[in-house]
């Protein structure tokens, strides 16, 4: 009985200690702690001469594009001699929220946000601004409402990519075709925006979209979706399938190869994987807007450094180039390997 009461007391004590204890005795003790720690780890933020960039990049490691982005950003930061804190929320908005708070408490000079979700990104942008740290969005922007808190956006235009690729598709299959659509992850902004671009690209044509299905953004699921499509739609009833990205398109191509079908042309809104070019070369992928993660990451780091140095960026949207690759033009585009 007394032990339990004691325990409750001690718990309360530890909690108050962690909260108020160090608050009261704050400066002396925390100063000592960080002083001792900085001997081992480099705390550039304290010294002030090196630029610290805090970055939260969605899904590095899960997706080839993000993985290439991740290493390109790290390599480029090392090249420029800036410190980069790169975190990954693996698609989880709550985790990203925590990471933004961690980056704020790390005293970064600039925070680069690749939001998991554009709407949830608004609150993140607001928080970073309230902390007095400049914020830049990369690859994926926050929703309209949050842009007032953001210095600028650097990355591809998902809408433009979706539109470019859809226009290429229309040029190939004509304006009276029937198509299927494979979406990415529900609620993921790139997926929604490319969809918007796709609708723009087929606007004014008689193209009929027979089905929209989500794939959770992974290749295996996309393959399953395509397998179901193939069962549902017999040979000759569909002209093309349009996928949110190349990863899903390869899933669709695999499903078609396994079923022995070649009557449906495959298009991807955008491509972030260099190896996908082999599918374009062999003709199984009809066309996709090429988006190089190296250029994407390097541009983002360059802009982040400029913001950290106090430069003003004149334009809000800074789009990178994303040319459409097709079997006909793939060799003349001169794309650097990643």
């Amino acid at each position: 009985m007394t032990k339990k009461r004691l325990f409750a007391l001690l718990c309360a004590a530890t909690m108050t200690l962690t909260m108020t204890g160090c608050f009261g005795g704050g400066n002396a003790s925390s100063g000592a702690a960080s002083g001792a720690a900085s001997g081992g780890a480099s705390s550039a933020a304290a010294s002030g001469d090196s630029i610290v960039i805090g970055m939260t990049v969605n899904n590095a490691g899960a997706d080839p594009y993000q993985t290439a982005y991740y290493s390109a950003a790290e390599a480029h930061a090392k090249e420029l001699g800036v410190e980069l804190k790169l975190l990954d929320p693996v698609g989880d908005v709550t985790k990203q929220q925590n990471q933004i708070q961690d980056l704020i408490s790390m005293n970064c000079d600039v925070i680069v946000l690749w939001p998991c979700n554009a709407e949830a990104g608004v609150a993140l942008a607001k928080q970073v601004q309230a902390a007095g740290i400049p914020l830049m969005t990369a690859n994926n922007d926050v929703a309209e409402e949050g842009r007032q808190y953001v210095t600028c956006y650097v990355g591809p235009s998902n809408i433009l990519e979706g539109q470019q690729s859809a226009e290429q598709m229309v040029a190939d299959i004509g304006t009276d075709a029937k198509v299927l659509y494979i979406e990415g992850q529900a609620g993921y902004t790139a997926s929604e925006e490319r969809h918007e671009g796709f609708e723009k690209g087929i606007e004014g044509t008689n193209i009929e979209v027979l089905d929209y299905q989500i794939s959770d953004g992974n290749r295996e699921k996309a393959q399953q979706v395509m397998e179901n499509y193939l069962v549902k739609y017999a040979k000759g009833t569909v002209d093309a399938v349009f996928c949110m990205d190349d990863n899903l398109a390869i899933g669709a191509i695999n499903a078609m190869k396994a079923a022995g079908r070649d009557d449906i042309k495959v298009y991807a809104a955008a491509c972030g994987d260099y190896n996908t070019l082999t599918y374009i070369r062999e003709g199984s992928l009809g066309g996709t807007a090429m988006q190089s993660p190296i250029i994407d990451a390097e541009t983002a780091i360059d802009y982040a450094v400029r913001i950290a140095k106090g430069e003003t960026i004149s334009d809000y949207n800074n789009y990178m180039e994303t040319p459409v690759a097709t079997p006909a033009n793939v060799d003349s585009l001169n794309i650097t390997e990643w």
Binding site: F7, A37, L87
Partner: protein, 322 residues
């Protein structure tokens, strides 16, 4: 308190020494950890998970667990954001919480009354909530339109503690009171320890279990609403796929037993904070997320093993002393 007493206390409540060791190690080894802003940051980051863990603690002490939490939160987040523009903020929140109570009641009815395995029941509800959430939100994120809502979610007291953290602490105290000083609390321990004995002693085990699932549904729904308030929007994959696991992990890490009958609310608080500190340290050290997930898993195994060893030793000691 003599050293012996401290030792006895520590081996009785293993979460305390483990939390202390992790805290001290992090403070000494990780630059930027022992900083008042960062410590509040950890509390704020884990307050919502902690609130959900409170409800889970009741169910776990009762000898069950609830997996429907993971998608219930995305459903209630979507409802609270989507309805506030049409029916007003307070009704929207009330509807969301009512949905949580209903889901909890269905769980409770099927487990306690119909006697179906809790794993299957809560898994089914988890899938059901997921599709409801996707159907309602049309796979879109919904922005919260009411400023009061987001101001509460993002609000901070002058010294850095968020309003949600204050709510968490208040709820901890209430839960502590209910578990320790009310009939329902004592019944929960009895039902979780040995349901047959509790039944024979005249305790209404069915009702106790039912109520605990309703409590868990309520805190889950509240968690969803708070996540929506904190991020100013709901997103369909919120909580998916492993939020319930992290919450259960927090409870179990604290020392509550999955077999039921053992545990208390401060264990849960400690367990959630251990997970929170580990995640924070991994971020401060700039460790890749997948590595940090693995480290979290290893720490869980280590802690539970240590807990097992200490409990066993204590048992042996009490046998030799007698």
């Amino acid at each position: 308190m003599s050293l012996k007493k401290v030792k006895a206390f520590m081996s009785r409540h293993t979460v305390v020494p483990i939390l202390l060791v992790i805290f001290v190690l992090a403070s000494v080894l990780v630059a930027g950890f022992f900083d008042i802003r960062n410590l509040f940051n950890i509390l704020n980051q884990n307050a919502i998970k902690g609130i959900m863990a409170i409800g889970m603690t009741f169910v776990i002490i009762n000898g069950y667990f609830d997996m429907s939490l993971c998608t219930l939160i995305s459903l209630t987040a979507a409802l609270s954001c989507g309805l506030q523009s049409s029916i007003g903020l307070v009704p929207a929140i009330l509807v969301s919480l009512a949905v949580g109570l209903i889901v909890g009641a269905i769980n409770g009815f099927l487990v306690a009354k119909a006697g179906i395995n809790a794993f299957v029941v809560t898994l089914a509800l988890m899938l059901g909530c997921r599709s409801l959430s996707y159907l309602y939100s049309q796979e879109q994120s919904i922005l919260a339109t009411n400023d009061l809502f987001t101001d509460f979610g993002m609000g901070r007291l002058p010294f850095g503690m968020s309003y949600i953290s204050v709510l968490f602490i208040v709820m901890l105290l209430i839960a502590h009171y209910v578990l320790r000083y009310t009939k329902h609390g004592r019944n929960t321990y009895a039902a979780g320890g040995n349901a047959n004995a509790a039944f024979n002693a005249g305790i209404n085990v069915t009702r106790t279990t039912f109520i605990n699932f309703v409590i868990c549904g309520f805190t889950g729904a509240l968690g969803g609403v708070l996540y929506a308030a904190q991020s100013g929007a709901s997103s369909p994959p919120l909580g998916w796929p492993d939020m319930h696991m992290l919450v259960i992990a927090g409870v179990v890490l604290g020392g509550s037993k999955l077999t039921g009958g053992v545990g208390n609310i401060w264990y849960t608080c400690g367990g959630v904070m251990i997970l929170g500190i580990v995640a924070n340290v991994m971020n401060l050290l700039n460790v890749q997320t997948y590595v940090s997930t693995m480290v979290t898993g290893m720490i869980m195994i280590g802690v539970l093993y240590l807990d097992k060893v200490l409990t066993e030793r204590k048992k042996k000691e009490s046998l030799t002393n007698a």
